[in-house]
């Protein structure tokens, strides 16, 4: 094996895989180092991909020719489009993924990828020369040099696993934590915090009494993640549904102080949106039942993931409360639930490329940045991989914008606002979500990726073909004008006496379908269903997106107003000490980011702006 790479990726989880593939697609030599080769692509928690906000991220990764959507489609065993009854902007694809098939799919694409090598080893240190990262040092003392290094160590940094009052160090059940690397990172004087997350006990499906439990089937017409796929690859299954009851809650209440979390063994902050069953019983004591999804982890074994009862109670208590639940009376626990605490690095130490501000060449992605979720990790891996490669190639950084992608929303949130709990994507985080739909991720990002250099010829030609069809369809709609009477008679909800309208304007009226308009413009009958759907959705949101355009422009204007690195908030007269320290920590790189720093007022922004202008006029004089 050679000992000199452009990009080295440490960690083979979702962030690491996506980072390595992104860098390799950009055409730079890439090495992926994992503690165990066999762990590449492993799903350590919930065996599902996608969901609201998260499904959008996977679509965006796919639009940039990434691998998560491909592996999810190949392993999906229950596809559902969430929010089918709500607006298309907030519909999120999700699938139950077969754990083994997912890992297999990821390992196949990894072995097939050009420019990408894989090494099984433990990285214990980073080599640094001239204040920049120059490679990694392995446990055996050998060194591999690289222009850039991407660290995606997940929960392995000082990971501690808790089950009741028992605890041991470990990155994931059965794995050892990376203490040497954590110590090394600590020496770089970074702001480090502690978070926690938890998992439920895994149950043997053969010990569950499925009779009488509700079943949740997948969609009749499954929506794939990848723009390249049309139908599932694996056999489709249903998930079971059951509920906790008063008896379950009593068992938990009685043993509360034995839970690692409530017994005071854990300091890390957990996510509010993914509470343990202990949390649910305590915080929502008025509810006498909580829903549990019984999700098969694989077609080829019997492990069931009971989604909704993650816990850090002792093993015997887990047994007792699980068996109080309908259908689980004789359940056999294969692996107890546990809570895990781990270090994360304050993502405000990172630039928009996810490069560490204080150590050029080192990029961080995934849970190490305080996020949770496979999709969030993979999207960051993509950003780090593209940018590490761009740096090696000497090309412009690949920067994502809040107004065009969820990836941009996440990177901006992380690097400007930091995290106070594990960060998960929600559609409500995206202020421009009406234009950031899962179905138009390719229209938003594929060309951007092609310019950056990460999109293959195959995907580019498919995309170009689709784009032409969209343009053609829109052209037909815009050119043809019809009277209100004609439109009304075709089923458009419009008064008969109004002015003439183009068919595209008619399509913006709620409830109008392209099929309604074929009578007026027969050409429209030739539009493929997929293209028609997207045209309808574009039209449906057209007025709202127009209204948001001013906000987007304002955001762009502010984003273009760069805050010089030499600007010192100490010099700004009139800024409170509190805001000064917040701005110093967040180190916003432009005015748009400064505006989003917690607590910043319009008055403070004016002060910052006048300081920028002062600096600019000074530099012009000198």
């Amino acid at each position: 094996m050679k000992h000199d790479f452009d990009v080295i990726v440490i960690g083979g989880g979702h962030a690491g895989c996506e980072a390595a593939h992104a860098a390799a697609r950009m055409g730079v030599t890439t090495l992926l180092i994992s503690l165990r080769k066999d762990d590449i692509g492993v799903m350590s928690c919930n065996p599902a991909i996608g969901g609201l906000g998260k499904g959008h991220l996977v679509r965006e990764i796919d639009a940039l020719d990434g691998v998560m959507g491909i592996a999810a489609d190949r392993s999906g065993i229950q596809f559902r489009l969430l929010n089918r009854k709500k607006g298309p902007a907030v519909q999120g694809p999700r699938t139950q993924a077969d754990r083994r098939l997912y890992k297999d799919a990821m390992q196949v694409v990894t072995s097939e990828r050009q420019n990408l090598e894989v090494l099984e080893a433990e990285v214990t240190d980073l080599s640094v020369s001239d204040n920049a990262v120059s490679g990694v040092i392995l446990q055996d003392g050998s060194e591999i040099s690289a222009k850039t290094v991407i660290l995606t160590s997940g929960t392995f940094l000082r990971g501690v696993i808790h089950i009741g009052d028992q605890s041991h160090s470990g990155g994931r059940m059965g794995d050892k934590p990376s203490i040497a690397l954590a110590d090394r990172l600590a020496s770089f004087d970074l702001r480090i915090g502690r978070l926690k997350t938890g998992t439920p006990p895994r149950i043997d499906g053969r010990s569950i009494n499925w009779d009488g439990l509700d079943q949740q089937p997948g969609d009749a017409e499954p929506e794939m993640f990848s723009f390249l796929h049309r139908a599932p690859f694996a056999r489709q299954i249903s998930c079971g549904i059951t509920h906790t009851n008063e008896k379950t809650h009593n068992v938990i209440r009685k043993n509360l102080e034995r839970s690692a979390m409530y017994g005071g063994h854990i300091d890390g902050v957990g996510p509010r949106y993914c509470p343990s069953i202990e949390d649910k019983v305590v915080r929502f004591s008025d509810k006498d039942s909580h829903q549990i999804f019984l999700e098969p982890e694989s077609l080829s074994d019997h492990t069931i993931y009971p989604n909704g009862i993650s816990t850090s109670l002792p093993v015997n208590v887990q047994d007792e409360y699980v068996r109080s639940i309908v259908g689980l009376e004789n359940a056999k626990i294969l692996q107890p639930g546990y809570a895990i605490e781990y270090d994360y690095i304050d993502p405000r130490s990172l630039s928009l490329t996810l490069e560490l501000n204080t150590l050029p060449g080192l990029y961080l992605a995934g849970q190490i940045n305080g996020t949770t979720g496979y999709e969030e990790a993979a999207a960051q891996g993509m950003v780090a991989g593209l940018n590490a490669a761009a740096m090696c190639l000497g090309s412009e950084p690949v920067l994502f914008d809040r107004s065009t992608s969820y990836i941009g929303v996440m990177i901006d949130d992380l690097t400007v606002r930091g995290v106070s709990e594990p960060y998960r994507m929600f559609t409500s985080r995206a202020e421009f979500r009406l234009s950031l739909r899962a179905d138009n991720a390719d229209q938003r990002l594929t060309e951007f990726g092609r310019v950056a250099g990460c999109v293959s010829d195959e995907r580019w030609s498919l995309y170009s073909e689709k784009t032409e069809k969209l343009a053609e369809g829109k052209d037909w709609l815009e050119r043809k004008v019809a009277s209100s009477r004609q439109l009304s008679e075709s089923g458009v909800k419009i008064g008969v006496s109004g002015p003439k309208k183009s068919l595209y304007e008619a399509l913006t009226i709620a409830g109008t379908k392209i099929s309604d308009l074929v009578g007026i413009e027969p050409k429209l009958g030739g539009i493929e269903p997929e293209i028609a759907t997207q045209l309808e959705r574009d039209a449906m949101y057209a007025h709202y997106i127009e209204r948001q355009r001013n906000d987007v422009l304002a955001l762009r204007r502010d984003a273009d107003r760069i805050i010089p690195r030499n600007l010192s908030y100490e010099n700004i007269v009139g800024l409170s000490n509190e805001l000064r320290s917040k701005l110093n920590t967040a180190a916003p790189s432009n005015m748009a980011q400064a505006a989003r720093v917690d607590g910043v007022t319009p008055a403070a922004l004016m002060l910052v702006l006048s300081e920028i202008k002062k600096l600019e006029s000074l530099s012009q004089v000198s």
Binding site: G51, L52, G53, L82, N83, K86, G87, A89, V90, P271, R272, Y273, C274, P275, K280, R283, F284, K287, H290, Q291, I292, F293, N307, G308, F426, T427, S428, R429, E431, R433, L434, K493, A510, G511, Y541, Y544, Q548, V573, G574, L575, S576, D598, T601, P602, A603, A604, L607
Partner: protein, 428 residues
């Protein structure tokens, strides 16, 4: 940040004058002038110059950061209100290296340091300008932050409504209330009603701030200027027996039992060949149209116009000392007969106008409130329409929140998520 100073009381001879110093150096400089104070303190001091010569015996107060008007360390000297003493103290402060404050700079610092929001600053400006009791009452409501409190309360409700709708979007698979629409509807209709009512009151509250206008109209020599002078108690308008003496609009500001009024004396209506007088007549009619009250005067009790516009029109026989007319009001500006009854009627009318104790007082408030009201109404109208999608409703709610925020502060997605997390059991 540099330390600034200024005379905080009115300039000129007075019983007491107040000199305010704000900034980190204020304690140090006060000590150099003989006023050694703790951070939050008061005492009688002998103020002296750097040469040690006594300037005045004064009362000195200090206000610690966070407990002062500007939010910074503040020192105030209450000196004897002599022009010479004040000048000497101000000179000394400048000699010691402090900077005279620019107009409004103390207040600006208070806002920048978070001691006041924009609405409070506006209230303060009105309070300082208040001349009458109703103006004072209105300004103090705004200054106390009532508008901020109201906007915050509305905002809480709209954020809650947005959170309920967002929860049905982002947590569709989880244990969230199935039907949030009834609560959303009740939250939003409350706010929509309040916001619209508050916006409607802005016009009248602007009047309280700027004064109600009472126009005196009538033919030449009907006694308009005489009445104005009677009201003003001084020779505000030039009165004479020559018709057409009043060519421009003459204004007199008055306090009518706490209500600020401006009485307008307009040029008498007649066909005149004098171009200048015609312009004066036209201008007077325009102002009278827009006035809150029009007092139509006629010596004989006979009126050419009897139509009533917005506001109040009173028809008054104006020369009761000369003619015996049968009208509702009959006054004599010369003797004062009937004038008090006329004023009582005007006051009764204006008092009913200002009865609502609203706090939005400016055009800026009105625009924000109307924008919010419109957005809320769109949502309320579409809640029952299946064709209008939840994500679009939320977008309209964000418009409403932003409009409310422009009254005081700014919005954030974290607020919505906080509301969701504190209310529901999310996570399966």
């Amino acid at each position: 940040m540099d330390t600034i100073f200024a005379l905080a009381s009115a300039a000129g001879k007075a019983g007491v004058s107040v000199i305010r110093i704000s900034g980190s150096k204020s304690l140090n400089i006060a000590a150099q002038m003989g006023a050694a104070l703790e951070r939050h303190d008061r005492k009688l001091v002998k103020l002296a110059g750097t040469d040690g010569v006594l300037i005045d015996e004064a009362f000195a107060l200090s206000f610690a950061p966070g407990r002062s008007f500007t939010g910074e360390q503040v020192v105030e000297f209450q000196t004897h209100g002599s022009i010479a003493v004040v000048t000497a103290v101000l000179d000394q402060l400048e000699v010691l290296g402090l900077r005279p404050a620019e107009a409004g700079e103390f207040t600006r610092r208070a806002m920048e340091n978070g001691a006041m929001d924009l609405a409070r600053v506006e209230g303060l400006a009105d309070l300082i300008d208040a001349e009458t009791e109703s103006q004072r009452r209105q300004a103090i409501r705004v200054f106390q932050g009532d508008l901020g409190d109201l906007a915050a309360a509305w905002r809480t409700k709209v954020v809650r409504a947005a959170a309920l709708l967002e929860a049905t979007i982002d947590f569709v698979d989880e244990d969230v209330p199935v039907d949030v629409y009834p609560e959303v509807k009740s939250l939003l209709s409350d706010v929509a009603d309040d916001v619209v009512r508050e916006a409607e009151g802005v016009a009248i509250r602007e009047r309280v701030r700027d004064g109600f206008e009472i126009a005196l109209i009538g033919p030449p020599n009907s006694g308009k200027s005489t009445l104005l002078n009677r009201l003003a108690g001084r020779e505000a308008a030039i009165t004479s027996d020559i018709a057409g003496t009043t060519r421009d609009v003459i204004e007199v500001r008055m306090d009518l039992n706490g209500l600020p009024i401006t009485v307008l004396d307009t040029a008498g209506r007649r066909n005149s060949l004098d171009e200048l007088e015609q312009i004066g007549i036209k201008r007077g009619l325009d102002r009278a149209q827009a006035a809150d009250v029009r007092v139509h005067l006629s010596p004989t009790g006979k009126f050419e116009v009897s139509d009533c516009k917005d506001g109040l029109d009173l028809f008054v026989a104006s020369k009761a000392d000369l003619f015996d007319a049968q009208t509702e009001f009959s006054i004599s500006a010369v003797t004062g007969q009937g004038v008090n009854e006329l004023l009582d009627e005007i006051q009764r009318f204006l008092s009913t106008q200002v009865a609502s104790a609203g706090v939005a007082t400016r055009k800026r408030h009105q625009v924000s409130l109307q924008t919010a009201g419109r957005a809320l109404q769109i949502v309320l109208d579409s809640l029952d329409d299946n064709l209008v999608l939840t994500d679009l409703l939320v977008d309209d709610l964000h418009q409403a929140i932003r409009a409310l925020d422009s009254l005081i502060g700014r919005v954030d997605v974290e607020n919505v998520l906080d509301e969701i997390f504190s209310s529901f059991c999310i996570g399966k």
